[in-house]
Symmetry: C2
Subunit: 263 residues, 2 copies
């Protein structure tokens, strides 16, 4: 299993506070020693920092903790390898261009007996993980279904939710996916989110001795949603997602939510 972290905000926001908590799980408070990566969007462009080394020992992770890069959309991942060796090509997040946008993705979980069901043609994995193959399969499906990003975003949300359900049938599929404008989260068993807005309060990280007063860091118009494998703070109310739940955010606000009927 791995740890996911996503952020979506209506203003460029730094993720140092959440990233500092996540990095501790990369070998200190968590066992996820098999690499880490983070992708920041800046307009339509994005930049990724990746390292197959544990995040708690990474010089590049130290740079990010000390050098806040402000962004409206961020996806981060720290890895505990199950399928695929520990190397750079197997390190999340993965990025591909579709419809002239950078799509970025990270996965937590493990799939079984999936290969023959996930054939791809246009998008092909570079590494050996189930995660990257599932990403390529999703993009292949999107490219076949739509010629461009549909204006009615419920169409693409519903389709991505259905693809998530299909992948969930092969095992555990917790996912963060973005095209730089929307952040989509799909949950099998471990994904929580929180939307912070005025009046902002204080938050205390679970994984390290750090408190932040968001009042000092924000303006009253800021809306910032954070999605993580497990809640990162212990004095706020996180929404814990259920199996099969899918949610889409834009500028920090929820756009679409699908919660399966209890059966």
């Amino acid at each position: 299993m791995c740890e996911l972290l996503g952020m979506n905000a209506n203003v460029p926001t730094d993720i140092v506070f959440s990233f500092t908590g996540l990095v501790e799980r990369g070998g200190i408070t968590g066992p996820h020693r098999d690499g880490w990566g983070i992708t920041f969007y800046d307009g339509k462009g994005c930049r990724s920092f990746k390292d197959p080394l544990p995040s708690c020992e990474s010089q590049v992770a130290n740079l990010i903790k000390s050098y806040p890069i402000k962004s409206e959309i961020v996806i981060s991942h720290i890895r505990q390898a199950n399928r695929g060796d520990v190397n750079l090509e197997n390190t999340h997040p993965f990025t591909r261009e579709l419809w002239g946008s950078n799509w970025c993705y990270a996965h937590n979980g493990q799939l079984s007996d999936y290969e023959i069901h996930l054939s791809t043609s246009r998008f092909n994995p570079v590494g050996q993980t189930d995660s990257e193959l599932a990403f390529c399969w999703i993009l292949d499906k999107l490219a076949l279904k739509f010629d461009s990003m549909p204006e009615d975003t419920s169409l693409i949300f519903d389709y991505i939710q259905s693809l998530g359900s299909e992948l969930k049938s092969f095992g555990v599929f917790n996912m963060l996916l973005t095209n730089g404008e929307y952040l989509i989260a799909y949950c099998t068993n471990n994904l929580s989110w929180i939307t912070r807005r005025a009046p902002f309060g204080q938050a205390t990280l679970i994984d390290t001795d750090m408190v932040i007063d968001f009042n000092q860091e924000t303006t009253t118009n800021d809306v910032v949603t954070v999605v993580a494998t497990r809640p990162l703070t212990n004095n706020e109310s996180w929404h814990v997602m259920t199996a099969g739940e899918c949610v889409m955010f834009k500028k920090g606000e929820m756009q679409h939510q699908h919660i399966p009927d209890e059966t």
Copy 2:
């Protein structure tokens, strides 16, 4: 115009020496203040560091100068913008996946009246530069011509050289292109390369006060080729490429070379 730097070696090699010279051209000895980027391969994976800030002022560039990442293939670029705004999505190198490999590319020069001739379908630009459109066009052409990387590399070399000639007809097209295994350079007017091998000597950077004794940094089996817009050292013999020249390296050694007949 911009500055290009490429490296291809038969062992993982650090590029700190050459990168230190290049970075000076990003605002100190050269006027290229509109961003910079560098991509390192590690196996099939690659990681890019990019910044729309001048390289001479960039904290991320300082990290790379002090933290050698060893790699067999590197492409770097510092930008003086002509087409496209100064922002992250217009910052080279550009990367796309084709045939399960990461292809990476940077361009120096400027094209005119090219848009209607460079239509793309599968690969689409995210930004607004002539450079990225030309890259997408090359990959579209490659994907249409070959189903996978041809075993006879002269086939793909000859085809890429012909695509370079076509692009050169629209203006200045100096290019570095790699799939992580081969490094290809196409020259219109400014590109030079050098292959260093035993017996190694000393080299002195032109752009900053720095000398390196490659004897201390290498073993007798190392073969390291560096390609740059202009020679980076003043006491070595660089091969200055001619208009229309194209060359392909693998593990530091030249595999193919095309030099047009003088007319």
